[in-house]
């Protein structure tokens, strides 16, 4: 297993280098000038020319890229053009908050989604099955933005049970986590139901029942465990997506996470901040994928990596 992890980690280096090159080129092709964003609406041309020179924006692209790469190798993601603060520090400040939101959303998704799916699969076509599939459809088809605002209207403005937005204790976490996790709840519920329906008629389930194993144990231990593989796949992809920024949810709920940081950096053409964020988030994505693969092997001993 360790060997696998080591090998996979090594193979990420060219991937990340590719990400850096593409990000760098794209940002330099896109119109818009970081200095124009920096100086604001009214500016004198002399200042713009001088600042472009000082930020080395007029150097040839390979030279600029070389500078940047040298910094990255030394663990320095550079300073934001706009705020003049180190990009790595900015990311380190925001990432735990994104992690917190993603983890809560995932927790909701796993508990609610899998429970709904299992319960729905136990009696297909029953009342509970319909109810949970309704939730699944609603969750998949309603846009995050709309659901987020609706939740704010209901729970914050009308009922006043929860704060509308902001970062703080558990109360602040509920609505954004639900909004972000909604799609996963829906997806997992459908996924689990499907996988369970496939597993439940199998011979080993019938054998377990014949042996007199309690139904709860049959479902939880024997059937669900075998239905887990596709669920882990979905979870892995979702975690990756959540961690790399949930811009809409963070915006609606004023959540100070990585997503909003990247968005503002892109709007302001803050090249070091955008490049640094992309690199950082790519690393996270790769790590989460690796973790998913490891979990595969844990969940199903038949999966072997050689």
């Amino acid at each position: 297993m360790l060997q696998l992890v080591g090998r996979r980690l090594l193979s990420t280096i060219p991937t990340l280098f590719g990400v850096l090159v593409v990000a760098f080129l794209l940002l330099n092709v896109v119109p818009g000038d970081p200095v124009a964003e920096m100086v604001g609406e009214r500016a004198d041309s002399a200042t713009i020319v001088r600042l472009r020179g000082e930020l080395h924006l007029d150097d040839p692209l390979p030279v600029q890229f070389g500078h940047y790469l040298w910094g990255v190798v030394r663990g320095d993601l550079g300073r934001s053009y706009i705020t003049q603060r180190p990009v790595l520090g900015d990311l380190a400040e925001r990432f735990p908050k994104t992690l917190q939101l993603a983890a809560s959303a995932m927790l909701l998704a796993v508990t609610i989604g899998i429970t709904l799916g299992v319960l729905a699969a136990i009696r297909p076509g029953g009342v509970f099955d319909r109810f949970s599939m309704l939730i699944a459809y609603v969750g998949v088809s309603f846009p995050v933005y709309w659901v987020g605002l609706l939740l704010i209207l209901l729970f914050a403005v009308a009922l006043r049970w929860l704060p509308p937005s902001g970062y703080g204790g558990l109360a602040f976490l509920v609505l954004p986590a639900l909004t972000l996790g909604m799609r996963s709840i829906a997806f997992l519920a459908r996924m689990t139901r499907g996988a369970m329906l496939e597993v439940l008629p199998s011979d080993f389930v019938r054998t377990a029942r014949a042996k007199g194993v309690a139904e709860r144990r049959v479902i939880g231990r024997h059937a669900l465990r075998n239905a887990l593989l596709p669920i882990i796949t979905v979870l892995g992809l979702d975690v990756g997506n959540y961690l790399t920024g949930s811009i809409l949810t963070e915006t609606i709920f004023s959540w100070p996470g990585v997503g909003r940081y990247v968005l503002l950096a892109i709007q302001k053409r803050d090249l070091p901040a955008v490049q640094g964020s992309i690199l950082f988030l790519s690393v996270i994505f790769v790590l989460v994928n690796l973790l998913t693969d490891v979990l595969y092997a844990k969940a199903d001993p038949r999966v072997a990596y050689d």
């Binding site: 119109p31 818009g32 000038d33 041309s45 319909r130 006043r160 902001g166 609606i252 100070p256 503002l264």
Partner: protein
Amino acid sequence: MLRHLLRTVNLFDTAPSVLFLCFLAACHGNSGGGSNGYQARGLVYYETYDPRSLDPALSTDVPTGEMVTLMFDGLTQFDPDGRLLPGLSDHWTADRTGQRYVFHLRPGVVFQDGRPLVAADVKNSLVRVLNPATQGGRVWPLLPIAGAADYAAGRAHEVRGIEVLGDTAVAFTLTEPLAVFPKFLAMPVASVVPSPLPEAFAQKPIGTGPWQFVAWEHDDYLRFAKNPKYWGGAPESDTLTVRIIPEPLTRVAELQSGRVSVSEIPFGETKKWESEHPDWLKRKPALRNVYVPLNNARGPLRDPRVRQALNHAVNVPEILRTVWNGRGVPAAGAIPPTLGGSDPGRKPYAYDTTEARRLLRAAGYPDGFAVQLWRSGTNVEMGRVAQAIQSQLAAIGIRVEIVSRDASSMREAVRKGETDMAILDWWADYPDADNFLYPLFHSASFGPGGNYSFYRDAVTDSLIMTARRTVDQAAREALYRRIDDRVFAAAPWIYLWFPIDMWAEHPAVQGWDVPVIFNGQRWAKVHVTAGR
């Protein structure tokens, strides 16, 4: 697929339940706003995005400018109505030519760390803004000072136009007379900072202003405590929190649940608020105009008759009423009606498609022509205005293609003169007609300077410069009227309207007023009434 779907969910059951959920939410949304419970501790304001810095030298965006205004003072300042007031300088004199100013410091002012303010602090602060190493980006308000441009370009070792007169006065010599110079000194970038600068100044600033810095959680909030020794009298409230809330509808929800003190009302919510909470609302004509710069150096738009035709073909009052919810007044010129130099007697271009067609024929375009109208993809209201203009110009044969880009790309194209038309707004940096003429119409301001229509007229240029040099206020305003008249006739823009800002103040909050200029509200006279 469809059969599967129908089997899994009974659609006939689903639809009513979803509708019921929506109904429930809508009902609660209406009834919930009526309560007056203020839940926040102290005053709470918001910004739409995290300030760039808290260092005045870096204040190039509105959030930074507003935060700097809370903690720092300039020699002069603005009140919410945009009037110029004494700041750190309690009085100043100008010589007869308007080229040399002497600012006398208010006695007894101390920085928040206890050290007294001296005249050298003023000079050091301004020199620091001009210093190329600062990389602030906004030096233009200080460039009128003699020697400032050379220093900013690294050609000189000091700014010869700033002279420290003992501990209590500073003299400025300008390259040429400039009547609005005291207003330049009220801009956030000209705030006075202590020298030498304390450590980590951009993150933990120290100023002389009404509020002291307490904490800054990036993208989340900034917290301030009142400065009990503020020279203008300690603020009435103990704390002020500034939250970062990017989404307009969330801001309104925060206001309704009593967790922010004031909020701007989004356009889509105008009618709802006017009917439900008229007593919460505050309106004020903004120092801003919404306009379409026509590229005067490109294609058919070079001909003034074509530009006039465009003005006659757009039904401004109708667009204002339908798309903008009536939150503005049609523009008959570039100078907002609340500023000296605007002409209340001048009439906007009349909506008259016959006249528009006649002008087009006279210009040699009887069948119209094709143009592009650029808009920022993130600004929904402006996008709707663009569509309205597109459909109205189609009536006189002008085929408008709307080009939607993100704000940064659009700004670059507009500044380089690569667009025919764009839909923009212009916000005042300082409340003076000069701010609506020099950047927008002087040929020295082409592109980044603000003249996005590339309007060039030697007479206008020279009149603007004469007005800048004119010290007598009445004579200056008469000149502004003349300039605005002349430019208006040449129609370098499609003149749209001057917006009226609409904000709501929570009933538990008192003393707040909509500032016409972003740095006109210092929150010192605002407080929360009893009944938290």
